[in-house]
Symmetry: C3
Subunit: 128 residues, 3 copies
């Protein structure tokens, strides 16, 4: 059945969603933003928000027994299109070749966020 992996040190939130769900080998991760361990938004530079968001994504994946190298696809939300170039410079520090599939869209975040990322991943072979 659907599993709701323990959060470990992934950000907790009072909002009505699980950090991720697992079904079989697949993991679906909620949109991760620049928030602290209680889910409170930390406003930062664009680079700071990207790094904190992807770190949070990594924490959620690792708390589920997976990790960034097991990501199939990321969806990225960059509020200001002028930040897309910086996004493309920072992103490869977290994801290595061969890269996951990726989609990046813009504008579609509230004023309080500069960036958000979600992903679909799989479990590592040894954890299946």
């Amino acid at each position: 059945m659907i599993e709701y992996p323990a959060q470990g040190d992934a950000p907790r939130s009072h909002l009505p969603f699980s950090p991720c769900t697992r079904f079989g080998d697949f993991i679906f991760v909620s949109g991760q933003a620049s928030v602290d361990s209680e889910g409170a938004i930390i406003s930062d530079t664009f680079e700071g928000e990207v790094r904190r968001s992807i770190d949070n994504l990594r924490r959620v994946l690792e708390s589920a027994g997976s990790g960034l190298r097991y990501v199939l696809q990321t969806r990225n939300y960059v509020r200001d299109p002028a930040d897309v170039a910086a996004f493309n410079r920072i992103y490869p520090e977290y994801f290595q070749p061969p890269y996951p599939a990726r989609t990046t869209i813009t504008h579609c975040l509230p004023e309080v966020l500069k960036y958000e990322i979600e992903c679909v991943a799989v479990m590592p072979p040894e954890r299946r």
Copy 2:
């Protein structure tokens, strides 16, 4: 192979999409909005549109033999960021803990819609 479950009382549309597709245990549901049984948009308050959209999502899932409790992940589109707080109050009337994974983004709908939701779900154990 890919299945296209019968619609039951789910909204029908003349537009070129199926309400959902099924492959194995997985169900992929099209974006559901505040529309009537023929797919015509019903403009309403934000709350009214959210309730009608999630009811439509539920109908599509149930017509495929699944249901809201078998949802892995929802993606939510809230046109006006000022409505996100109301969204978080209404949403838990439809989804219970442990919640699906979730992403909520804003602005990215045409003027005629205040809200839209899509999801990935699975079949219940007894229907696999």
Copy 3:
């Protein structure tokens, strides 16, 4: 494990993403836009951009051994809501009934793009 199918004549990009990833029977395709074989954007009419984007999606799928008829779900990004009607006229030239599930949202692209499409697909029965 995760596979990164050879690109064939699909567009190559210097950006940090794979055109698609495969896990088991599932294929996750990156957002495809109106770009040439090197990934450079080709600005065109809305119709021209839709056709080039879906052609690129088809090339990525075919390079992975799949194709448009094996698509479970598409997500479509139309920058100008006024173009949605045209989108609904062009789209059925590429996808035939019974259609994939579909979500279409608006506004969420940078000025340099009028349209983008991503999808989840499966491998044909004979290639599993």
